[in-house]
Symmetry: D2
């Protein structure tokens, strides 16, 4: 077991204790299979309410790569690809899962992990004006992450502009919300679940990194965006027999504001760490307002911190420096934050 201070990632612990308790409560009660049970129905209803999207289709899947792969391939036509930032999770870290499903990830330049509306506008225009476009991959979707892989956030006005031009180009907008709780709880965030439901064609509310044992909730704000999505989930091996286990987790997360509280806990911990780092004149590689902090460390700092703190290696920009990621989560313990700050 790791004895260092655990700040390497936000998926190292199990589930929020309320979820384990809820599981124990219903453990020996029989439920219908494949998510057709009443608990899953309740969870879907609560998510629709939270998103102000009463007609939304909601499905529960097990993990982020699975969700991205199934949603993207289900939404795209065979001749379409998806625009994503070079740094997008689907571009880099998913072992080619999108291409395995037959679709090109068309990477675009990013800044702080974000795609700009201008970059997208140009990319759509380049395709549209290409005389040979029938020989090219048609952009059928824009993939964003909120927060991004660099912990940054799209503002509501940015998202509105991207939504507008994506739809004007006849494409769909999809938002990967693997860490969505940490966006929603961030003081500088102005994008709500209802905004996502209004602006996106599909998005997912991350559970795995935000308080659940596992599980992501896919939301299609407009019903029948993808007909027979249930069968598509099954065909992709992503349908759990005991769907009520995933349903129950989201039912618990969306009861009494638990999802918000999970987010707030991590953001508060990150703020304490960020403030201490600032005070000690550490350098941030990226100005990230959510639960991931990216530190640019010199050799001395690196040696000292990595001895006691479990962080994620990000990049080595030059021989003298390294970028390391510190992540807080719903499970971050106050005493670990104290200990980390004492070390800085």
């Amino acid at each position: 077991m790791n004895q260092k201070l655990p700040f390497a990632s936000d998926y190292q612990e199990g589930a929020h204790p309320d979820i384990l308790k809820a599981l124990a409560d219903i453990n020996l009660t029989p439920h219908a299979g494949y998510g057709t049970d009443e608990i899953s129905a309740s969870a879907r209803e609560k998510i629709r309410a939270a998103c102000n999207a009463p007609r939304a289709d909601v499905f529960f899947l097990a993990g982020g790569t699975q969700t991205n792969a199934v949603v993207i391939s289900a939404c795209l036509k065979p001749y379409q690809g998806v625009f994503a930032a070079e740094s997008g999770h689907v571009s880099l870290h998913e072992a080619g899962a999108i291409e395995h499903g037959g679709h090109k990830v068309m990477t675009l330049p990013q800044k702080d992990g974000k795609l700009s509306a201008e970059t997208l506008r140009k990319a759509f225009a380049t395709f549209e004006q290409d005389e040979n476009k029938e020989h090219m991959v048609m952009p059928g979707m824009v993939y964003l992450s909120q927060p991004t892989e660099y912990g940054t956030l799209y503002s509501l006005s940015e998202l509105k502009e991207i939504s507008r031009l994506t739809h004007a180009a006849g494409a769909l907008l999809y938002v990967d919300g693997a860490r969505l709780a940490y966006a929603l709880a961030c003081p500088s965030n102005d994008v709500s679940l209802a905004d996502l439901a209004e602006l996106c064609d599909a998005f997912y509310i991350g559970g795995t990194k935000c308080g659940a044992l596992f599980g992501e909730a896919v939301v299609f704000p407009q019903p029948d965006t993808v007909p027979h999505f249930f069968t598509i989930i099954k065909q992709n091996g992503a349908l759990l027999a005991k769907g009520f286990v995933t349903g129950l987790q989201f039912d618990t997360l969306f009861t009494d504001g638990l999802y918000e509280r999970c987010g707030q806990h991590a953001i508060a911990a990150a703020k304490r760490i960020r403030d201490a780092l600032t005070e000690k004149h550490y350098t941030f590689a990226i100005d990230s307002p959510t639960n991931q902090l990216f530190l640019l460390l010199d050799r001395e700092q690196e040696a000292r911190l990595t001895e006691a703190v479990d962080m994620s290696f990000w990049e080595r920009p030059d021989e003298e420096h390294v970028i390391m990621r510190i992540a807080s989560s719903w499970a971050t313990k106050d005493e670990d934050v104290d200990a980390l700050i004492a070390l800085l």
Copy 2:
């Protein structure tokens, strides 16, 4: 919540209480991601020991269709297909997941859910003798279920013969053990985990239907049967970030004989029900020794039983009869068995 006696399937409840307890115990301890943690390592070691296969590769996936799809596509070359019984789970009930991965399921006639060695021998010979075989799908794998979808069992001698001729044809043998605990615990079974490891190229030990919340343990008895299977799992969206959650469940199931006990509980319940049915002169559609009983009911029996008992509809062979399935499980309550017997 279902008020009828719950005999519809063996995946209606959560997990064996020992598993929930183990989860609670480690819930807030940080673990490495993607199954690289120590609990998963321990689970793999215990499974290798139980299979008498010290060099086996062991991987944990989430569900049965996923496991079948990932293992089969990883083992087959693009130009190969898989032989399966017409009644095989991969043939019928997986929404085309195998074909979605690019491979033909080549169905063969079955008897009581089983493929005979003779059927397989002929099928391999037909391919081998076809002058146009380079225009055909090459059989690259034989898919069996133990127990079968009809609750029946391959004997050790049957399995040895199938293994021998499959390997002689240059193909791989794969056994779907979604309900393997219920085969292992069956008095008439003579096939052990070590036998499977000796005779198969791949098999999986079912968790979802045998005591776990979810999860299946894939065993490749020979190491590197499929190079880079980890990446293949990831690419198929089947790699859980919190792999320790699946690892822990199998670690618990393979501690102190829990997997065996889960199987024995269901088999004992099934035996009580089978004996009572026999005594009351009910007709069995299939002679099934494991945890699934297939009853041929007339209209009167159907009306009476379906009012009080939750069973699975199987088939309507004629206007006057129906075949219904009763399934027991690790979670079957003695009082529900008593109540069912009283109704017969």
Copy 3:
């Protein structure tokens, strides 16, 4: 070079001399690429006229397996499969090309190579009434061949009924016309190109076996049945740079009734052979009115004929008999027919 009488198949020779002449005429004239040239446009227009389908989309592909694979995968949704006769070309002889594209071929029993409306009606009903249909492969298309792999023909009334019930089930009807010239020229045929255009969602007019060097003309009677089919062809590697070569062949075949004459030539040759066989009391395995004759030969007949005639082996129903196929074509020489008849 084969010295036996050449009746093994209908794709052993090059192209009708008119096609080679037309090729030579335009050989050094520059043309636009990818089928955007004027000759291809003319060919499409002539095919639309022949099919009485003025708004049809027409595309030229290179071969039959390619055409089936591209059309079927383009028409089906990911969760759909295609109904086909057990004897259908897509079921058996295409090396799993349809499954390679991700779709299940759902085989149905056939009689003389044909699917009956009743078989299809039951198959659609079985799916529709299945409580678990969302876990199954949805039938999205019916695949027929005209003539069938056994040389038999669907009548207009049969085709109308199949079309009606396929559309009632929400599926598409697709007809493989690899040997369509030999159906159209058959005296007992009552299905015209215009009938196919009225009853099918897609069909192809075979060139490879009917007078062309290579090439098949796909007809979608309703425009935009498959949006961006051009790009789909490209993506499947099926778009020829010099599309005018395929276009020219069909332009020639559909000028001055050449396609009809190619068919009539083969049918006349087949009739002469069939009449002679009947007179000599040979046994036909199948009553086939088109250019393929299936002979049930005893050992003596087999020995005598195979020494001098190149036929196709079909099947050995028992130790004493063999079924051999004799095929005539647009290229069959009268003197070869004379020689064959003399041998009987």
Copy 4:
């Protein structure tokens, strides 16, 4: 019919007249199907001799995108991708055909259409040193074009170094020779067919753009590099029934040096045009020694030339300039070259 001077591309005409003549000669002689005929065997033998690769596997396919898609997917494991220049044909112009086969095209920066050994070395090292490499797409192949899409050439020493480091990384080297005749005939080229056979794991000798009606010859210098490639071709819909038509074209191209002569004709025409352009102080966007010339034209030049000459639009680097491509070919007429030069 286009009345401008035809310099838009090298696939606008039919076939070298020797090929049409050869086709006419054998047109009505029956041949075995699917490339199992004697002419195809002869063509394969001639190609083996030309490549000094007596044990090579040689296959004939119909076009370039098809060849790239089939070869790349056949060579890669499911978890592997292919490195290619950003400007590579597989990256841009094939409608996602490689991704459609399930594999990521991992684009790398290019210079004049070429990948440098240093770029490749770094790209392999980045993968190898990535701690998370099991979550990434493994590079399994390097894709080059000779000549490149920009008409430039790899030197023998460059190719040797790329071959060495590709094999050191455990990957395969594949060369797209769509325009190979125009490399082989180029005075500055020092890479022979035998060099390609020694340094590559697979390459193809382009026919479509180099004198054939259609067709590309895939060469695997080591036998059984891809077992059952014949079946893979079939499964991808790329197997022509009348394989002798493709075989005959390559048999003719590799008889009496026709392939070399086709290349020389185009190179001589390109040289005349290049010299005239240089003399008239035109600006070349790329220094390309083969049959494609890339001109940077100002508005006046553009207006004047495009009125009379059919060229390919390449790019508009700024408002005042355009890059246009002039391509010569085996079919370029001397009088068209004269007329073009007179216009400059």
